[in-house]
Symmetry: C2
Subunit: 368 residues, 2 copies
């Protein structure tokens, strides 16, 4: 009996082999560059996938919320880092976790640093997040006044331990010149390390985006890398050149509910609540919410001729279908959809099914 | 103690008074037009909100998946309609529900109709979904061949009971001329009713979109209305003219984690996994992923000067802030965000908190 026989509704499939190969490839790359790989688990959010990662000598993880930190704590991680500007309302929850689990947070202002200094009950590490051009969050790289204000408040606390500088150059997702962004990022982290390493000889620098970590080979003296998406990859990463489509480790199985041959359209049960609504827009202006793969007992194959989700609503997905697909599909079949943004799809689905039909946990599905 | 004191992370607030007023207004409108209101519960997905609806003489609901039908079955609904082209892989689940709960499905092709005719174990009603111009799904209104093929297969089954025609003119969401769309829709449903009422004297016609049901006053002889979003409304509906912003019954409470006064930006914990990624694009090309309201003990107030989420990622939201907001906000505060698309936000959050701090259920949060 195939894993396919148990699927009757939208289901997120996980190919363990591809996932492990992705983890291994990035772990090998980190080792080659003498860097520590600390994967961002906002993508996988899973104990099971965490166990796979540990087999490749990954000992620490990053998350983006205290909820994920709670979920992953007590699972043997040497440290869990919350790579999101810390929310001071969650200090009581942090105290609870930190009593049992080594944990670090991310700081970008004096206010939160002071509240932590006042209220922490256990030792907690922290990174200062640096903005070297992305503009989403972080202390501007030349704002030494703020950097030193944070360090000074922390120094007066016996609980807050400075670990180093964290940089997420997220503009690698929409600006084509990744080498230029990385030069800027290396320079920023190198300068800061140089400036503060006398006072903090053990400080580390970490860089965090998947596109850059996937394509770059020059990290100079950056100590750690923290990509997340690479465990699954997705169509966005394939478009950015960080992976091939065959490296995508998850796909949404969707039931075919109608076929309009005259319009070359296939209606599937699979919409925004399953895939999320991230979209690629082609040069022709056509939107692409996911691409069709053919499911089989061993996983999936990528068709030669592309078929893709041209529109989605809450539960509906409409595939613009190739002639090849139209010739073989019928109502009641299952198709696979490679997601545009796998982190969001995994969060929306809240669990995975492997190709041998086993459930793999995800923090969202375990929330009750 | 206020409901606000228990909130430390992104939380979906529900103002029961506004929600009840929205339900009552639509129920009154339906009564005024001698129509039955069968709300689409893909928006609320809740037993509790269902109980409120029942107080306004609502006895039937619509859903968009068998999962929601399972969740709402056995809660005293006279009928549950699954307004999504039926997925034949789910016939065993349908049989299970139909053994205990009056239920109806939506059909648009002969294949699924035949599979139901062959495999149903209990009586199940069905609507034929009609496409009169939207183009997402449904039998084209003039495709009498297909309509009659479906009717004929059903007639040979003693389980499949034809109920009528269902039309969701979803183009009211992006085409400005709602009256023209409604004229087309009324004509389509009227023509079909006329054509088939001799054979099926009890057949009903139902129309299903919130923008039209909210703004139109001319439904001619359409029997039932099935809007969904109106229980909460959202910014998209306000932009379409179906509601005022003060009618929006849900808002996402988000913690403020950083403030960049020089850029007039506020960073909050609230991103795509909370709000979903639906977006409004202004005439100026600026994106709007949600608008700020000020929270207080009694709910929220809408500021005179607009502040809005200009960008979101998985967990981050960046607010473009008014001077008024910047003058009063500090790190550690909570702000409210009115969602662009409340159905998607509610599905992402999986539960609500009322203004007296009580949890209200949602099918997604109850999935385990």
């Amino acid at each position: 009996m195939s894993y396919l026989d148990q699927i009757t509704s939208p289901t997120l499939l996980l190919d363990e082999k591809i996932c492990r190969a992705n983890i291994k490839r990035m772990a090998d790359k980190a080792a080659r560059h003498d860097m520590k790989l600390v994967p961002h688990f906002k993508t996988a959010q899973s104990h099971q996938i965490g166990d796979w990662a540990k087999e490749y000598n990954i000992t620490e993880v990053t998350v983006s919320s205290i909820k994920m930190a709670e979920y992953l704590s007590g699972q043997g991680w040497v440290n869990i880092h919350i790579a999101f500007p810390f929310n001071p309302l969650e200090i009581p929850k942090l105290n609870k976790i930190a009593a049992k689990q080594s944990i670090s947070v991310q700081l970008i202002n004096a206010e939160t640093t002071q509240m932590l200094a006042d209220q922490l009950e256990s030792s907690v590490g922290f990174f200062i997040e640096i903005d070297a051009g992305y503009g989403r969050t972080g202390v501007e790289v030349t704002d030494f006044g703020l950097i030193e204000e944070i360090m000074l408040i922390a120094k007066k606390s016996d609980k807050l331990k400075f670990k180093g500088f964290y940089l997420h150059p997220g503009h690698t997702y929409y600006m084509p010149d990744i080498p230029a962004i990385y030069e800027q990022s290396r320079n920023a982290l190198g300068m800061l390390k140089n400036k503060y390493s006398t006072e903090f000889p053990n400080l580390v620098s970490r860089i965090g985006d998947t596109p850059g970590c996937a394509v770059m080979e020059d990290f100079e003296d950056i100590d750690e890398m923290g990509p997340g998406n690479f465990v699954f990859y997705d169509l966005m990463q394939a478009e950015l050149g960080g992976c091939e489509k065959r490296d995508i480790a998850v796909c949404l199985a969707v039931p075919v509910v109608d076929i309009k041959k005259n319009r070359k359209e296939i209606l599937v049960h699979g919409g925004g609540v399953h895939l999320a609504k991230d979209v690629l827009v082609g040069e022709n202006g056509l939107k692409n919410f996911g691409e069709v793969v053919y499911l089989n007992e061993n996983g999936w194959t990528i068709p030669e001729k592309k078929s893709f989700l041209k529109s989605i609503s809450q539960e509906h997905g409409i595939i613009k279908a190739s002639d090849e697909l139209l010739a073989k599909v019928k109502v009641g079949d299952l198709l696979g959809i490679l997601p545009v943004h796998s982190c969001m799809t995994a969060d929306a689905m809240g669990e995975y099914i492997t190709l041998d039909g086993k459930k793999v946990d995800h923090a969202e599905g375990a929330r009750v």
